[in-house]
């Protein structure tokens, strides 16, 4: 019996000769990651363990991105814990404000993650890097502490699910809609403990930014990891990185033709329209066209899901020469400093500001109700982020709808949830 790409990567990171779903393994890691919310706990545990040094100072990544630039004194203290630890232990990959970005946009952008890697991060959206053909999965702070000390993580080998996308994409439909469609189909626990492998002709021609959006939200279906086999688009993406953090192109794995899947789903993308996930679960998915007169108070375009340059280009295309509806706040957050600068160079920042929007420094900010756009009771937002749980963006009596950047931008102009065709 053959292996899936996930099983192959996991096997390669153990001393085992064979690997099976359900089995527990201790795996070597290529990279571990923490942020200003999860790393302070990990650092406490690391110090209690009495570890004198980290297992490899090139393989620990610390990014203050959630409540940074520090939103209040307590957050400032959390960020300080990271900076101090990084200095004390010689952590090479610590990214200070001004050089940082939303972690899951930053790491691929600078080439810190390569195909074939095994990455764990104390952040649930660590699954994003599966877009590069790596195994990457979110864990907790204690796992991060253990990984920083010993370079290993315990894992249960997941069963794999295969999602095959075929047909031709409709206008305004991107990776975000494909993953929302998938989560809507299988539910928020449909891939619990499992690997989600995305493939088919649609995925093969999908650009990296869309692939990252898709793998990013594997966790929203309960998945352990999302993964796409590396191909020409992957190597082109990695080659295009200037001043790459690591040499080489990584190692490309692919699933064997006789690999075993616990479920195979085939989706004809011609049936997929721009979608929104309605409150309060990412699986509560409806076509934009099915929503009538859902007024909004705020629009957020950004995050590790959809804060990349191609997302901002789409938003700018719709917003160019238009105005944000008078009673609506549009908040646009490029996910990294590079994306910020590219948006300025390409004239996107000007389009956003002239339309009446806010153009912010990179931060996770409002996505998790941190700062930079918190909702009051009774307010409603449409956002390109990844979760719409009760109270996610602020008051427990506020509401969040999730969409792609085109739908979010169109909605900002109309003042209600709108299809991009309504403004272009």
């Amino acid at each position: 019996m053959g292996y899936t790409i996930t099983e192959k990567i996991l096997l390669k990171h153990t001393k085992l000769k064979d690997i099976h779903p359900g089995e527990f393994i201790d795996a070597k890691i290529d990279l571990c990651l923490g942020n200003d919310i999860t790393a302070p706990f990990a650092i406490e545990e690391f110090e209690k363990l009495g570890a004198k040094k980290v297992f490899d100072r090139n393989k620990v990544v610390l990014v203050p991105d959630h409540f940074a630039p520090a939103k209040d004194m307590k957050s400032a203290n959390q960020c300080k814990i990271l900076a101090k630890f990084a200095k004390q232990y010689g952590i090479k990959n610590y990214f200070e404000v001004g050089r940082m970005g939303v972690e899951h946009a930053l790491l691929p952008e600078i080439g810190l993650v390569l195909p074939g890697d095994l990455v764990i991060g104390a952040d649930s959206h660590t699954c994003t890097y599966g877009a590069l053909g790596a195994f990457s999965s979110g864990v907790g702070s204690t796992d991060l502490a253990a990984a920083m000390a010993e370079g290993e993580v315990w894992l249960r080998v997941p069963e794999s699910m295969k999602f095959v996308f075929f047909g031709k994409l409709n206008k305004w439909v991107g990776g975000k809609d494909l993953i929302l469609h998938t989560i809507g189909d299988i539910g928020v626990d449909g891939a619990r403990y499992r690997a989600m492998e995305f493939c088919g002709e649609v995925i093969e021609s999908l650009e990296m930014d869309d692939r990252l959006s898709m793998c990013n939200m594997a966790i929203e279906a309960g998945g352990k990891n999302g993964i796409i086999a590396p191909d020409k688009i992957t190597s082109r993406y990695i080659r295009s990185i200037k001043k790459k953090a690591r040499p080489g192109l990584g190692r490309a794995y692919a699933s064997d033709p006789d690999a075993k899947y616990c479920l195979v789903k085939e989706y004809d993308v011609r049936t997929i329209e721009p979608l929104v996930a309605c409150p309060n679960l990412p699986s509560n998915v409806k076509p934009v066209k099915a929503l009538k007169d859902v007024s909004i108070d705020q629009v957020v375009i950004g995050s590790c899901t959809n804060g990349r340059i191609s997302d901002l280009r789409i938003a700018a295309k719709l917003l160019k020469g238009k105005k944000v509806k008078s009673n609506v706040r549009l908040i646009i957050i490029p996910a990294t400093q590079k994306i910020y600068l590219d948006a300025v160079k390409e004239g996107l920042a000007r389009i956003f500001v002239e339309a009446g929007g806010v153009f912010s420094t990179p931060t996770c900010g409002p996505c998790l109700g941190g700062h930079m756009g918190i909702l009051a009771a009774g307010e409603r937002a449409i956002s390109t982020t990844n979760r719409n749980f009760t109270g996610r963006m602020g008051d427990p009596k506020s509401e969040v709808y999730l969409s792609n950047p085109a739908v979010a931008a169109a909605s900002a102009i109309k003042g209600k949830i709108a299809h991009p065709d309504e403004v272009i």
């Binding site: 309960g222 998790l368 749980f389």
Partner: protein
């Protein structure tokens, strides 16, 4: 801590934002986290809960973020055990890693009602519903996880190994 107390009932897909909202994540102080435990699912929970009490929920408990603050808040609030039809994976591993007893039991999750008195004997492998005079059998953890649980968490198990 012995696992005996009253049951607090919650539904399906209780997520980490409800267990401990992000507005309280700017600290690692356990008492402060405990004071806001389950706040967006039940505002009064932290005030009502007593040491030993048990959370009983439906499917996919703890879905969402990786924040270990979620099981930490539950444990620090005095909850002795979480019983659910199923758990989201990061919450599950975080609980094992920090030594918060959690039990997956479809039967118990379906039968237990709010305020029932619940007693758990992990060694003998059963949940006792004192109020309803019922017993629900629980599956043993795989040996790999038992090692971590027995040590009281991942760090304790590592400390033993490193000593």
């Amino acid at each position: 801590m012995p696992i005996k107390g009253h049951a607090y009932r919650f539904g399906d897909d209780i997520n980490t934002d409800e267990i401990i909202p992000a507005r309280y994540l700017h600290t690692t102080d356990k008492a402060e986290l405990a004071a806001h435990c389950m706040e967006d699912a039940d505002k009064q929970f932290a005030r009502k809960v007593r040491a030993g009490d048990v959370i009983v929920a439906g499917k996919n408990f703890g879905c969402g973020s990786s924040r270990e603050h979620a099981p930490v808040a539950i444990k620090a609030a005095g909850v002795s055990c979480v019983i659910a039809e199923s758990f989201a994976r990061i919450f599950f591993r975080n609980s094992i890693n920090i030594g918060l007893p959690i039990i997956e039991s479809k039967e118990a999750a379906a039968r237990i009602r709010a305020k029932d008195t619940i007693q758990v004997d992990t060694a003998k492998g059963f949940i006792k519903n004192v109020t309803r005079k019922e017993k629900y059998r629980i599956e043993k953890y795989p040996p790999f996880m038992q090692r971590i649980i027995k040590a009281g968490g991942l760090m304790e198990s590592m400390k033993k190994r490193r000593a």
